[in-house]
């Protein structure tokens, strides 16, 4: 981890102000993701943590600041170009193509890499055997957990250089949460992909993360190692932010 801190960040948001249409959600947010690390963004509902990921993926209006990725300024890049450059984004909701089969979903994930699809998809199937079993059914018929696995799987087919995961545990049964977090840990370990993780499940997120930053009302407020963070810290931040922690 000390090693990761000395390296230049692979992804950096500098003083980013962004939102949707006329609404501004993020104000002057700064995030640095270093090679090999898992950085978790914590925050209450409406704090803008999902917007950090959407802004990185290219789905919001950026009003100020800059985003650099792998040495390039991608602030003005369209979403598809960011994906092509290696940003793998897993949305919280609507994260699969509901009216396509599981196999077709995976093909869409490999849109930019059709030639190596047959080989790459086996890696996804190895990570999520259930997805292989269900490959002929419509994604809309999958359970919440299977859908989450599919959404991570189809993002991996991009061969991303970073993963942006938006609340991978939300709306899942506890056993499913276990297997999703195991998969995330395994992806991080085996593929050594740096991960920017947004979570509401504080304990889970702290256990997995190398670093944590907390977002309060669209501004980042804390950036330190998970071991340093006490429950009181978090509690204080959420209350100070005037946002309920529920």
């Amino acid at each position: 981890m000390t090693q990761s801190e000395t390296k230049a960040p692979i992804l950096e948001l500098r003083a980013v102000t962004a939102g949707y249409g006329l609404i501004t959600v993020l104000n002057d947010v700064a995030v640095q993701l270093h090679p090999g690390e898992i950085l978790t963004i914590l925050g209450a509902n409406g704090s803008g943590k999902s917007t950090v990921l959407k802004t990185t993926a290219g789905l919001t209006r950026i009003l100020g600041g800059a985003i650099t990725f792998a040495g390039e300024d991608i602030t003005r890049w369209a979403a598809h170009r960011r994906a092509a450059s290696g940003i793998g984004y897993v949305p919280q909701n609507q994260n699969v193509f509901l009216d396509l089969t599981v196999a077709d979903n995976l093909k869409m994930g490999a849109f930019l890499r059709p030639k190596s699809f047959d080989r790459d998809v086996e890696e996804v199937y190895a990570l999520f055997p259930r997805i292989k079993e269900k490959r002929r059914v419509l994604a809309g018929t999958l359970s919440g957990g299977e859908r989450r696995m599919l959404s991570i799987g189809l993002t991996l087919l991009l061969k991303p250089k970073v993963l942006l995961l938006d609340e991978p545990s939300s709306d899942l049964a506890p056993t499913m949460v276990d297997s999703v977090f195991e998969a995330i840990a395994r992806i991080h370990r085996e593929l050594s992909i740096p991960i920017l993780l947004v979570e509401q499940n504080v304990n889970r997120a702290l256990a997995l993360a190398d670093r944590v930053c907390v977002l309060v009302r669209g501004k980042d407020a804390l950036d330190c190692k998970p071991a340093d963070i006490t429950t009181e810290d978090l509690h204080g931040l959420f209350i100070d932010g005037g946002v309920r922690t529920s």
Binding site: L59, A78, H80, V96, F97, L98, L100, L112
Partner: protein, 293 residues
Amino acid sequence: MIQVFVNSIIYASEIAIVAVGISLAYSILRFANFAHIQFAVVGGYATYVATELGLPLILAVPASAVFVGGLAVVVDILVFSRLRHISPEGKMIVSWGVALLIRAIVASIFGGGSIIIETNTTPIRFAGAIFTSLDVIVVSATVAFMVLLHAFLYRTRTGSGLRALASNYDLAVTRGIPGERMIRLMWFISGAYAAIGGSLIALETRLQPNMDLIILLPVFAAVTIGGLSNVFGAVLGALFLSLAQNFIISIDFGSLVSDQSWFVPSQFRDYVAVLALVLVLLLRPSMTKRGAN
């Protein structure tokens, strides 16, 4: 009865090829483009101009399709691309404005009179029904273009990309599918198909500035019955609608209750379209909800 069926197939072909473009645009951009009807009208006039310039029909219609496909792309660049983030209702109203502008331009160039594109057609008598060689061309062209569109959407990588954008736009672009470029391509196809449909209608009937009003209702009814964003649902919608319209006006309602024959006047054909539309929406609410997701 066979004659009514044959008439329905011919009419459905003309409507369907126009209707698919509306569904295609709706499936990705989620608004009903009223200017689409004008694309069909412009297509009819463009084919007329091309034949006047000496092109045979077999080349005039493709030339018209390319021209109107390009027009649809230009309209997107000038108007719709700037309004991507406004509400669907807003875009729909703007599309009305675009439609009226195109209508005014067409009328100012070609005047209010009707124009007939000369064709050599021979009547064909088959299985008790009478139709023309032109009807055969209209139906087979429609079938061929539908097969082509299906193959494009389901058998090519680009077509799959379009379907992905229609299914979930944000997810598709973050998979690396170039959304804006694909939207341009979609507009080109949509405009080209409208032009082909408009040309076929112009050949079957005649060109007149108000032909938009004649096809507006059946086309939109077909698209709505088909579930708005379902491209091939629009084809089925057109077929269903056409059958309903042609059968209603061919039934002798008078003889059912008295010894005098009475038919629904054919002017009411479009109201049958509305009635069929309302019935379908009442009976199958799930069909239209699917598109709204």
